[in-house]
């Protein structure tokens, strides 16, 4: 290397690097390279980007971060891609395209390396591939996190409380499926689009819930998953292919719920109930963004589960405190929601709202009246909710029994701590 070519600036510390720069720029580059290499070479695209990041890791510490780190990574990845294309015979016919790309990028220097729309298109193509109906739901989410979110196998394994080997296997199978089924790297059009879009929204909803359902202090990756889901849904909402009211509804529900995450636990990472939360810690800017998309979502005729859930979240976020929450409105929304979704989890949530309006006894009755309750038998929240109802009725023995059962089933530490606290209080009262 000729040292005179190197811009030897004062090295910068980590604080000066853009947050999540590598992950986000790397993921964008994976999508673009996948378009060029072909979806069957997704792993190769990932490897090239990984190598580009490794280059940055090797040189930046000595020479300092470049002025435009994102462009630097893009350029490094492009040049590596060119090496690969020249080396591998399979890509012989693709060489002119890559060469064009590299030259284009280099002539633009450190400004915009690719047009943002072009990147967005590639990312959406990748999203439609990851969420293809032929790929099992769990694998869709894993693939999206890896290929679109830039998460490592280890991070995904920790978030899903499983092993790295299990995640790696899931990814290999999903990629095999893409090859075998010849899933095209494209945004569906015409009649296909509607159905495929529903599938993508559902996967994004699932992805979001994976992050949201149990965010604990020891597992910050989960919160990152929520943000990734928001990012991807936002991308979809901005694009002609995905800019429909239900996309905005989904985005609204994600934003408004995520805005409340910072208040969900205390400084020790213990879970806080809605009525215990410090509402000043809710992210008002994010709630405002959510409300904007909720307004956008009202444009069409169609009402979806996402609309209802976003509406419920909006009711909570609009209340100054727990006491002034509009539980009647929330109950109405849940009444509509159970029409769409007869899952026992929704019924359980509805029972909570019902108890706020008509008292804990009504809540208990609603729970026992709900259909397919048996599928919730090993769900810790069922017992936590029942324990709460019994406790409000001062049935301390019954409440303690429910909390004990719930504690046995809870898997996450912050939840266990919370339940143990409730159990102790009930046992004390029962004495």
């Amino acid at each position: 290397m000729n040292s005179t070519e190197v811009n030897k600036e004062e090295p910068q510390g980590v604080s000066e690097l853009v947050e999540h720069l590598f992950r986000h720029e790397g993921a964008k580059m994976v999508a673009t390279l996948t378009r060029i290499f072909g979806i069957e070479h997704l792993t190769l695209a990932e490897d090239v980007v990984q190598e580009a990041l490794a280059r940055a890791l090797q040189t930046w510490p000595f020479y300092g971060a470049p002025k435009n780190p994102a462009a630097w990574i893009m350029r490094a990845a492009r040049n590596l891609a060119l090496d690969v294309v020249r080396r591998e015979k399979v890509f012989r016919e693709k060489e002119p395209e890559i060469t064009r790309l590299v030259e284009e990028g280099n002539s633009l220097q450190d400004k915009v390396v690719f047009r943002e729309e072009e990147i967005a298109d590639d990312r959406l193509r990748m999203l439609f591939v990851c969420c293809h109906p032929l790929i099992p739901a769990e694998a869709q989410v894993t693939l999206a996190l890896k290929a679109l979110g830039g998460f490592s196998v280890g991070e995904i394994a920790r978030a899903f409380l499983t092993t790295e080997a299990a995640i790696a296997k899931r990814l290999t199978r999903a990629k095999q499926k893409i090859r075998d089924a010849r899933i095209p790297f494209e945004i569906p059009t015409g009649e296909q689009l509607g159905g495929r879009l529903d599938g993508v929204l559902q996967s994004l909803y699932f992805l979001f819930n994976e992050g949201y359902k149990a965010s604990s202090g020891a597992n910050l990756v989960r919160e990152e998953i929520c943000h990734e889901a928001i990012r991807l849904t936002g991308l979809l909402a901005e694009h002609a292919a995905g800019n429909v009211p239900k996309t905005h509804a989904l985005l609204a529900l994600m934003l408004i719920n995520t805005a409340r995450l910072p208040a969900r636990q205390d400084s020790d990472g213990n879970l806080l109930l809605l009525n215990e939360q410090d509402r000043t810690r809710w992210d008002q800017a994010m709630i405002a963004r959510g409300m904007f998309h909720l307004a956008q979502s009202a444009a069409g005729e169609e009402i979806t589960e996402y609309h209802l859930e976003a509406g419920i979240a909006a009711c909570h976020s609009g209340a100054k405190n727990y006491a002034s929450t509009d539980w009647r409105r929330i109950l109405e929304l849940y009444d509509q929601l159970v029409e769409f979704d007869d899952s026992p989890v929704v019924a359980l949530n509805r029972a909570v709202a019902l108890a706020e309006v008509h008292g804990p006894q009504a809540g208990i009755e609603a729970v026992s009246a709900s259909r397919n309750l048996t599928s919730l038998e090993s769900y810790y929240l069922l017992y936590a909710v029942l324990g709460e109802f019994e406790s409000r009725l001062h049935h301390a023995h019954a409440a303690a029994a429910h909390f004990r059962k719930s504690l046995q089933l809870a898997e996450i530490k912050s939840e266990q701590v919370f339940l143990a606290k409730r159990l102790e209080a009930c046992e004390e009262e029962a004495r």
Partner: protein, 136 residues
């Protein structure tokens, strides 16, 4: 080995594949930590220079220096990735610096080598002109 060196120490970073398996997030963190580490040492006047090395170059061998091959292809765990030239006075100080290397946690190794007090090459180089004068 001398515990003291007036010519400083070379910190040689060994291992060029330790970042494999790191997520982009972790990779970025290590790069940032490493930059901060280098910057701090510079501000303290403890490091004079540092360079990363390309993973491979050329290996020249043969008695007449005629064999030129691509390389090195040493095991990547041992391959040299770069170096710092630190100007502290004792090996203990150099070791203390080396212990802060952000790559250690991921399996990189740091080799600390004192730069020799008197360079025989330099003294030879200085001696030759005198000989030349004597012959003239």
């Amino acid at each position: 080995m001398n515990a003291q060196s007036n010519n400083g120490y070379l910190l040689i970073f060994r291992g060029t594949d330790w970042h494999n398996g790191l997520s982009p997030e972790q990779t970025q963190k290590v790069a940032g930590d490493w930059m901060a580490w280098f910057k701090k040492l510079k501000e303290q006047g403890k490091v004079a220079d540092g360079m990363p090395l390309e993973p491979t170059g050329k290996i020249i061998s043969g008695k007449n220096g005629r064999v030129v091959a691509d390389g090195p292809f040493a095991e990547s765990k041992e391959a040299i990735g770069g170096f710092f030239y630190v100007t502290v006075g004792t090996i203990d100080e150099a070791v203390t610096i080396a212990k802060d290397c952000p790559g250690l946690a991921y399996g990189a190794k740091v080799e600390v080598r004192p730069v020799m007090e008197q360079c025989p090459l330099a003294s030879q180089g200085a001696a030759e002109p005198q000989l030349a004068e004597a012959h003239a």
